[in-house]
Symmetry: C2
DNA sequence: CTTTTTGCTACAATTATTGTAGCATTACGC
DNA sequence: GCGTAATGCTACAATAATTGTAGCAAAAAG
């Protein structure tokens, strides 16, 4: 399939369209969840792990690195992960999902 | 870890909070992308596959089944997958990502 | 100095995804 | 009718991602 391998590239970025790259980045495990958990306050890596149902630090770290690379998340000097201004904007778009999900229930 | 196995349950649903289940469902490969590709018009399985960079039918089928189970997507009688009313609502929330992504670029 | 917490990594085991091929069914062109 | 192409969908091995557990070095308490 000739996919990109190790590089920081994102699935769907082949199309060149930024949305695809974004959809791809957000469509990875725990990506949306991380943004969600950081929506109100910064969290340390441990606290974030706890918030994310004890997800393995391996993925969390991987996602965090990607999210940082994308400029949505940053590691504060005093420690702890937080949303950047851009990250907060993105999170604003995910927020409405709360009400929607409640209505969706299943 | 005592995770749910074969059932149609969703990761994150352990918390009982619908948002988590939704974030989990959408945080699977091609899930967001599928919603995105169906945003304007119904697509046949083949057309959808083409739209999704020739993603393997295995995942596409899996995601489609999940998305149908969640009530976001349906298979029309005349063939072809389409968003349900609920699915369109959900898609409305993903739409703003287009402009955001353009600005984000990377 | 000891203890705790930080961000982060190693590693094997398990799942998920990929890529390719193909099935049964339905619809079309001739 | 008969071939042809398209539909939704599945099988399967190969590959990649994720999980779970353990633990590291550095910094911050205590």
């Amino acid at each position: 399939m000739a996919k990109q391998a190790a590089s920081g590239k994102v699935r769907g970025s082949r199309s060149g369209r930024p949305v695809m790259a974004l959809l791809d980045l957000l469509g990875r495990r725990w990506a949306l969840r991380i943004l969600w958990e950081l929506r109100e306050e910064p969290l340390t890596s441990r606290a974030l792990r706890t918030a994310c149902d004890e997800a393995s630090p391996t993925v969390l770290q991987a996602r965090l690195t990607e999210l940082r690379g994308a400029g949505f998340v940053e590691l504060g000097e005093g420690g702890g992960y937080a949303l950047t201004a851009l990250g907060r904007e993105l999170c604003e778009m995910v927020m409405p999902l709360l009400r929607f999900a409640e209505r969706w229930k299943r």
